[in-house]
Amino acid sequence: MIKFNRITFLIFILTVFYFALVGRLFYLQVIKGEHYREISDRNYIKIFYSNPPRGKIYDRNGVLLAYDVPTYSLIAFPYIVKKNYSMQELKENLKNYLNIELDEKTLNIIEKNLYPSVVIKKDLTQKDIENFYNYNYLFNGFYLEVVPKRVYTEEANYLAHIIGYVGYPSERELKENPNLSPNILVGKAGVEKIYDSLLRGESGQKAVLVDAFGRQKKVLWEKDPRKGNDIYLTIDIRIQKIAFEAFSSSKHPSGAVVLVDPNTYEILASLSYPTYNLQKFYEGFSQEEWKELTENKYKPLMNKVFLGKYPPGSIYKPLVSIAALEEGAITPETRISSGPEFRIGKWVYRNWDKRGCGFINVSEALETSCDTFFYQVGLKLGVENIVKYSKLFGLGEKLNPDLEVKVATIPSKEWKRKVLKQKWFHGDTVNLSIGQGYITITPFDATKIVVPIANGGYVLKPHILKAYFDNKSQRLVHTNPEMIRKINIKKWNLDAVRYGMYLVVYGPSGTAKALKRVPVLNAGKTGTAQVYSYDTRKKRHHAWDFRDHAWFIDYAPYNKPKIAGVVFIEHGESGGKVAAPLMAYILKRIFKEKIIETE
């Protein structure tokens, strides 16, 4: 027998609710079920995406490099298509009227209604579009969607590696970023990727209520697309083109050029040679072209500026000089007797010039690139100090993590113990002091050596984005130069090194006289980095991949630097004879064509 108290009262209330809900469910699903099923069948919502144009990419002077053009894609909404046609009819209609062969995968998506919408064909021709409109009564549930396509200008090809490429978002990217729509272009590499959030914009959405034939009945909600922001790179495409032409007219198959403004560390040119056709890369190469690109031994797809690591050779000497001067191992006046060879015990370290260099100071040692001078200075300075200054200059560090991919390997005692499990010998210090041995740097790292020398010790953040046009505020937003640290270099020490680099070009025994052709005073340093020993090279008959690498770093004008940079020629054999003339060609044209003005 149930006692009527408060708890039973409460249970009674709960029971009343329960039966009310059961009644309601029965009413909705069983009594009015047909009615609601009909509404739900009619009541079909479709989401149309409108993909805004991606931001344009310009060089620093507003030369257009990349932009978007609209193309049309044929989209199907499986839910509606399924209701109107059998799979057989569908296949036939598409084949007969639009000349489209439906593949199994797409057919499966439609048949099983796996996605709200599916792309049937991209990049429709004018004729396809006309046919679609003429026979549209055969295509209920099909729509044309505007899909932007990226176009790279002729100029952009000089800058292929830097620009990168775009593509549709992967499933993973769609998952990670709910704002992406399947047909929006996203950056996959290069500045297209680094500045994707600026360039991309936002797709618009329009939710439309349609009936069973796919006719639009009502717009439910709408979100306007937001256009991507245009960006301006620090690259001067004229300089980039000169760098490219320097290479293409030189017959050297592989290398890199980086030119920067040492006062701001804006990248004016960044060439990895050989390069490839950007537009074709984006639209897809034929299998043969692709094979040719991937199997080419000069690696056209790799951006050597940031990805290649090579021994620097003598272009490392200015950095070692500054370390030695600042740490008191030498003064600008210190003269050291530098003969044809230097011995530690039974080990012999030779000078590149068998005649030796004589009794010289640091400036003269840079002029002739005297190895035996730097062997002695390096030993006196110690490996710790060389490593310390390399780090101060930013070697082994990503000064701009967005741009830089690989970092330099600067060997130290700990490094050798950890990586090679070996003890550090004096011979290792000797090798390191002329930029040989275990040390490897990227061509971009070479600019980290020359920039602080040119600008008086400022380590800045390298950048490639000059500005972007912010659509929201309708203003141009500039990237300001950013200082990371200042290396304190005494003026007389810096002057001694700069003078040494001046002598490289203008001195009687300078190693890079080719640079005299440049119409402004400049200073540089050659580097010929040994990859294999002379004996091995000889055995291999001086085959290309056994030759030395050729380097040249330079800045100009000498008194008030406005440009600094590096030319790297993979297996180019001689810094002075090969890399320096290329730099001379580039700088000569830059100043002659008044791309950089001098007062």
Binding site: L10, V22, L28, Q29, H35, N43, Y44, I45, N113, L220
Partner: protein, 374 residues
Amino acid sequence: MFNLFKKIKQADPIVYLLTAFLLIWSVINIYSASYHEYSNLYIKQIVFVSIAFFIITFLPFLIEYRKFGYISFYLYLISIILLILVKFFGVSILGAKRWINLGFFQLQPSEVAKFSMIIFSAYFISNTKLPLSFKDFLKIMGLSAIPFMLIYSQPDLGSAILVVLPVLVMVFLAKFNIKYIIGFVLTGIILSPFIWTHLKDYQKNRIIAFLNPESDPKGTAYHIIQSKIAIGSGMLTGKGYLQGSQSKYYFLPEQHTDFIYATIGEEWGFVVSFLILTVYFILSLRIFYIGMKINELFGKFLCYGIASIIGFQAFINIAMNVGMAPVVGVPLPFLSYGGTALIMFSLMIMMVLNIEYINKKEGFRFHSQDALNY
């Protein structure tokens, strides 16, 4: 270990099996509700459901519920602190600050507050002189007003109501003078115009939309209409798993949280939506029944509180889905997506199983002279 399995066999089979049924259903439905969203919500749900199974299977025989009574005030304090923290460090989703990001998991303090409020009130009531005096009534209502206000200001009206609702049920069952209760209800009615002016716009819209759905088919009422269409179009046996067009094509917003029931209704029809509604009903009744059997006041009121929150929260959510209640943002226990809520409801079931187990072991020995009268 063997001992533990022997104990597990003694768990109340109705409570355990019904909960297990709901947990398994939750995975099936979250998968369906997030099917078209490139989403892996269901994987997270599987992780939470596994934890939930662990909680309801093993923990009831490893704990002693009375100890929670002794620390109930601290539990209450902790949940207040969490609610204050969420104000400052909370993550905003859709304009409401309800979650604290712990990196691997987003904690929802209001769910923690619901549970700790039940434990705290049950302990409070079991340690005062019954029937509840007016002074004690004011005390407990004052203490529950703090979490209410904090949650209400998130803003989350639904959860705020659900923090207070079980307390009101417990107060009612503690034989608080019926005259006061009537007075309390009347005051509420008189104050309602005043409360109306203090509601947020979206809350007013929801109430208006509920009273007259056709008034604004694009805005708030849109949810109610679409939800009704989804459920109704399921008819007797549903459109089939993963085949719901209403839910799959973005008609239904929040289909994996507040409107998960509509997904079930659409894909499985009357048969399963009726079954699930009935499961909640029986589960709630069974917990009330366990509470009635028990003659120790703390355990008894805990059962009442838990039974009422599971029953009423499920019914309010379902009523919302079928268009019988305004959209107040109340998730469906166990089935809606949300880790904190799932864990908290599992802990409640753990508590019930533990209360039943311990009291059965003790042979329903008397703790309070007239406990059976409550």
